[in-house]
Symmetry: C2
Subunit: 206 residues, 2 copies
């Protein structure tokens, strides 16, 4: 659908929402018309919350996670294991792993993965600071928790080449069948990997 | 998923996006993290476009359509038929009907439909101004183009009661099978209405 918009103000707001990932013209129009039903004060609060993303967002100087302080809550939490670093692509992954409540070490947020097609090379990511962190601190293990894509694998390999000579363990998170998956419908690569990486049976999963 | 957000600024932006229709926590997070990848100037432009929705949006004083001027482009267009008013629920419907290029009259935007459950009564809608428009101008036909919901039907009936005594034609847009629909899968109410309201066959649809 192509619309002739009756107002420039409307058009520009739609254009802005349209720039969000997965938001087409019709959804952007829906968001905009819905905003018009809000109180003006609420619209201005919305606008301010977005402006602050440009002006007030800081990144933790240690792990590059989003933070309001210079060092984030996770890095400054003394009850966490400081000798384990989990390397992730972005902030979303930190939130997802924190949410499992199964990890008590620190993180290192790369800010992306190596992707020549998108023009992202190792120097665009926080890899040098990862090296420095590993060298200067008493890190015993680096867990690579990137996506199982071509780009993720490339990045894993690059980091492995950079850190492989240091006296640390480098591990990756387990790949295999998800809970609730059926053998029949699991792709052969995943199923094959699940068999190769089989682990001793310990009774029911806690 | 419940997250512990590492930053208040992040949290508030997510909360704002979360208030849009059909946007859950995870989508709001995705929008917010995507915004962080934009240039600060672009984020501020986004923020400004939203602020203007609160400050600069005007509604046409005749038809209540969104407009940058006092009277909208449609109402001030002298080549349109001024004796026909199409009554719609909101701006979106004006855009959809304009997009068909099959209508050359004027509009009247109600700003909603009568919905006691949501606390919306006739006085919350632009019905009085519709009456005045019909009485004061040379209107020959009022087309009711509201949704076929309980609320739409109630509103149709209310308007019909208000305008029924005036020397004008009151019509509603046709209900029936859509183009491309199959008889077999059409609900019985629609199919029944399609048969009752059958029209003379005129050969292929232009």
């Amino acid at each position: 659908m192509e619309f002739n918009f009756p107002s420039k103000v409307l058009f520009k707001a739609i254009e802005s929402f349209n720039s969000l990932p997965g938001v087409g013209r019709k959804t952007a129009l829906r968001y905009t018309l819905n905003m018009l039903k809000m109180e003006p004060a609420e619209i201005i609060r919305f606008s301010e919350n977005i402006r602050k993303l440009a002006e007030d967002i800081r990144f933790c100087e240690k792990c590059h996670n989003i933070s309001d302080q210079i060092v984030c809550d996770i890095c400054s939490n003394t009850s966490r294991k400081r000798d384990t670093l989990c390397v992730v692509q972005d902030v979303r992954d930190v939130l997802a792993i924190e949410n499992t409540q199964q990890y008590n070490g620190l993180y290192h947020v790369l800010g992306g993965v190596i992707s020549p097609i998108d023009g992202i090379g190792p120097s665009d990511l926080n890899i040098e600071s990862l090296e420095n962190r590993v060298k200067l601190n008493e890190v015993k293990e680096v867990i690579l928790a990137l996506s199982t894509t071509m780009e993720g694998d490339t990045t894993n390999f690059y980091i492995f080449r950079k850190l492989g000579n240091l006296p640390i363990n480098i591990t990756t998170i387990a790949r295999g069948m998800g809970f609730g998956d059926e053998i029949e419908y699991t792709d052969e690569l995943t199923l094959g990997r699940s068999i190769i990486n089989r682990i001793p049976y310990k009774g029911a999963v806690k």
